[in-house]
């Protein structure tokens, strides 16, 4: 049991300060914080950036980096004698293959990917100047909370973190709860193939801060917390600089992630913020009712909040009208076998061909694409004209997710692609619930055994295991963790014969 008044959320920073999980650190941090040393060890061994101190090079093994030779880069790094770790997607898919140095700074030669040129008619407008006028905030204050929520409702804004849940429902819910309330910004972007929040933070930090200020003011949140991926140091610096310039009348705090994809899931994120292992909570209760430290909490993805200032300024109807079939524009990430990987803000509901045209065209002959991160699996080019939006992709058994679109050309063996996805999920499952913990291992073994022997018998139970992972898992990770293998088998039977 923790000592009275012990501050559990302090152990992350203390662990970081002590250099991560080294012998004796759990006891020292336990003594310092009053949190039982076993708990400290449990936390230290959960987060990869804490569990393995002294790593000098972290080499990304995400899908887009694999397409650009990540395996070879890893091998070379190992041969160089450095202490090397293979890691999950680093959110640098536009300049694959990616790696980080010991200070978690990117060691990349390729420049960041493209964005559209400045265009003031776009809600986020990544290419535009990031002004710190905060005129939308002033307008929101003048309008009052009811009118702001009405505008959000009219805009049809759906959460951009992956689930597409209507934003205004959460705003109303949190506002109706009793204070103190919190706003949490989910900047833990980790879905393979996704790097849009990174670009928002680097290019439009004021836009994001303005969205944060409007949301906090509207729902009556006293504190805004930005939970930011530990591997995104440049983004944190950009936001900190902007925050100084902005002089907001709001308590804004940063919390670093420490290497765990699952902490992008909103309740795992809250657990991490509270100094625990990042294991998702049972829902209900939802965070809008019982979130951070048990208080009503509004959690939004970076992109969702970055849409807010334009909606307030130009109205909900205007935003809704920008989309095709579904409201608004969307930041599409595109990487893999295309000419100009990058983040392009396009009407929600463009097709793959339209997106790739903006990205300069295909490289080679396209064979497959992943529309929204590892959890969305793969689709064949036969679906190149499906609108890349929430409903149409769900109807195909896939999803828009985070809109991390990756294109694979016809040199790729889909069994390889499926394996990369299953390795990712086995590495990143929190391990709390059995369907996902055991299922992820079974699916990875199935595809690896198939690749080793080319015997489809190894794939006999993939469907049944997936069914149970979907049925029995606590959170979305387990429910979709079979998608890379399952979708590849479904749509590319020739690669699994």
């Amino acid at each position: 049991m923790k000592k009275a008044n012990a501050d559990r959320s302090a152990i992350m920073e203390a662990l970081e300060h002590a250099g991560g999980n080294r012998p004796g650190v759990a006891r020292a941090v336990g003594d310092q914080t009053g949190i039982p040393e076993a708990d400290v060890h449990g936390v230290a061994t959960f987060y990869t950036l804490l569990a393995k101190p002294d790593v000098q090079v972290r080499v990304c093994q995400g899908l887009s980096c694999q397409l650009e030779g990540a395996a070879r880069l890893l091998e070379d790094a190992r041969l160089s004698g450095a202490r090397v770790e293979a890691v999950s997607c680093l959110g640098q898919c536009d300049r694959a293959p990616a790696a980080l140095d010991e200070h978690l700074e990117p060691v990349l030669t390729a420049p960041r990917g493209g964005v559209l040129p400045a265009d003031p008619s776009l809600p986020i407008d990544l290419g535009g100047p990031d002004t710190s006028a905060y005129s939308a905030l002033a307008r929101a204050m003048a309008m009052g909370p009811d009118a702001v929520i009405a505008a959000i409702r009219e805009s049809g804004l759906q959460g951009r973190g992956g689930a597409g849940f209507p934003a205004h429902v959460k705003w109303s819910g949190v506002r109706a709860g009793e204070g103190p309330r919190h706003l949490v910004v989910n900047a833990d972007e980790g879905e393979p193939g996704t790097f849009k929040d990174r670009e928002v933070m680097l290019r439009r930090p004021h836009k994001l801060l303005e969205g944060i200020a409007i949301a906090a003011h509207t729902v009556g949140a006293d504190t805004a917390w930005i939970y930011i991926r530990g591997e995104f140091q440049p983004c944190r610096r950009a936001l900190e600089r902007a925050l100084v310039e902005a002089k907001l009348d709001l308590d804004v705090r940063f919390v670093d992630g420490h290497g765990a994809y699952i902490c992008g899931e909103e309740t795992a994120l809250l657990e991490a913020m509270e100094g625990r292992r990042g294991m998702p909570r049972l829902k209900p209760p939802f965070p809008t009712v019982q979130g951070l430290f048990g208080r009503p909490t509004l959690i939004h993805n970076v992109e969702t909040l970055a849409c807010v200032p334009s909606i307030v300024e130009r109205g909900g109807a205007w935003f809704a009208g920008l989309g095709r079939g579904e409201p608004g524009t969307k930041l599409y990430c595109i990487s893999g076998h295309v000419q100009r990987p990058g983040v392009y803000e396009l009407p929600l509901g463009v097709t793959l061909d339209e997106l790739v045209e903006v990205a300069g065209g295909y490289v080679g002959t396209p064979k497959a694409f992943s529309p929204g991160g590892a959890s969305s699996g793969f689709l064949p080019m036969a679906h190149r004209d499906v609108p890349l939006a929430f409903k149409p992709l769900a109807a195909l058994g896939s999803m828009l997710g985070s809109a991390g679109v990756v294109v694979l050309d016809d040199t790729v063996d889909m069994a390889d692609a499926a394996r990369w996805g299953q390795v990712f999920f086995e590495d990143e499952t929190c391990g709390q619930c059995a369907p996902c913990r055991i299922g992820c291992s079974l699916q990875r073994r199935a595809v690896e055994d198939y690749r080793a022997h080319r015997d489809p018998a190894h794939l006999a139970n993939v469907e049944a295991v997936h069914h149970e992972m979907d049925e029995g898992s606590i959170c979305g990770l387990g429910m979709t963790a079979s998608m890379p293998l399952l979708s590849a088998m479904r749509h590319f039977p020739e690669d699994f014969a």
């Binding site: 619930c433 059995a434 913990r437």
Partner: protein
Amino acid sequence: MTPKITIDGQIVPFEPGETVLDVASRLGHAIPSLCHEPRLKPTGACRMCLVEVQGQRRLQPSCAWKAEDGAVVTTRNDRIDTHRRTLLSMYVADHALDADGLPVDQGGTGNRLRTHVKDLGTGPALEPLTAVRRDRDDSNPYVHFDPASCVVCGACVRYCDEVEAVSAISLIDRGRRTTIGTADQQGLLDSSCELCGGCIAVCPTGAMTEKPALGVPRDPEPTRTTCNFCGVGCQVDIHVRDGRISRVTSPPPGTTVNDGNLCVKGRFAMEFVHHPERLTSPMIRVDGELVPTTWDVALQTAARGLLGVKQRHGADALGFVSSSRCTGEENYLMQKLARAAFGTNNCHQCAAT
């Protein structure tokens, strides 16, 4: 009006705060579970107890789902059966198995996973996975942990925190490697552990087992008695095998004063019973040597000695100390002996300070 819930077509009243599992158990509708333990906050992690709640797209953990007025719950149908059997197949693929391919039973609390597999059957036959969980070198004499038969339900960790308030153990590592460990994987003797053995009592699979009784089957008819190590009066069940005590367990939670709990002494300190040096008759010293005698002789000898001291030096030269293993009644008699029979107030009980 009392709130009512429909479970498998039966309309039943419930107390606010009860879970679906509580109500269903009361009705006699068995719901399999692993991580559920009535003394602990539910985590819903093992997923064994999922049921259908009308209006919910997903199956929900009955151990955590609160009964609501008007709710309609199904605890058994084809969907739930498929879920249970496939999940059991997956557990089996990740568990230490015996020669029959069933989850091992190490004695101790038994293995509910094994029982569920026998009762409910399994789904697809899955090749066993290779074990990757960290083990711990631990020389403590009482608590054995086998990572290969742990289902990572976390009941032991929650018990150690919520009931024992010790937090000597935690879930450690992540994903497939997740297991139970201590800070830096030191032995329990080097941790805050009090060796209460509660983690053993709540473990559904026997992954935590009494080290001295590893592999020894439970006594199907243990003897209920009162622990004699202190005056609390914990009830204990003494398991006997071949005429010797094999293990001590607590009666189920909610049935006796100790509510399923025991301390290190009650649970583990029974070696004295069969110890070769145990005194089995009173002794007196004759010419400096201890020799066995009868109670009559022993009591007379003690009385003579005590009265002698009183005669020579007065009653206050005597002092009476009773043991914390005595009951309240025995302590009362002890002070009566000191005050009424010998006439001194010099009496004390070792747990009084």
